[in-house]
Symmetry: C2
Subunit: 116 residues, 2 copies
């Protein structure tokens, strides 16, 4: 399992470590709206991602305390993931990231057209 060492006391280094998972940001983004089931998450991912990988990413985020896993004892099984309190506080970052990301995409596009 992925257990990132979070003892680096600098906020930026710590953030970097939390975000190091390939899908961390997008998962947090998907969970903003409320609880989502495992398979639903998998379907909503922007690229194909195996359940192995998804499972690992979720475990890591859960271990770090950003998300909460709730299991319902049913057949068939049902598991929902949602943001924890500290996870919800991350939404500020997500917002900033979304805005910047959009601007950046525009920037890259323009750079490309200039080249041609």
């Amino acid at each position: 399992m992925v257990k990132r060492d979070l003892t680096g006391l600098c906020p930026y280094v710590t953030s970097q470590k939390v975000l190091s998972g390939k899908w961390s940001i997008y998962l947090l983004y998907l969970l903003q709206e409320g609880p989502v089931r495992f398979n639903e998450l998998q379907r909503k991912m922007p690229e194909d991602i195996t359940h192995t990988t998804l499972s690992r990413q979720l475990k890591a985020l859960e271990w770090e305390g950003l998300i909460v896993r709730q299991e319902f004892s049913q057949i068939p099984p049902r598991v929902e993931y949602s943001l924890s309190e500290i996870g919800m506080k991350f939404e500020t970052v997500l917002e900033a990231l979304g805005d910047w990301g959009s601007e950046y995409i525009e920037f890259v596009k323009n750079k490309d057209t200039i080249k041609k």
Copy 2:
């Protein structure tokens, strides 16, 4: 050289890719204040990082357009790195990240003390 594929059109995926370098965030943070020289950057890093690694990270950020590299023709050489325009716009994210990181560190501390 690290050339991250930035064609994913979703802002979050794109951001994630840009931030995937182990030191991206901290480097952008250091460059906020203005131009910094190569060796100075190396010294300011929170952990020891070889110049090879630093060089690669900087090249990646430069290639992505976030930072600008200016070389002065001198002996001994002198190279300064600074934020580009789109790089400066990233400061919003940095701020949010810094705030959240601090909160998160507190959160982790409390969790640990409860365990004991």
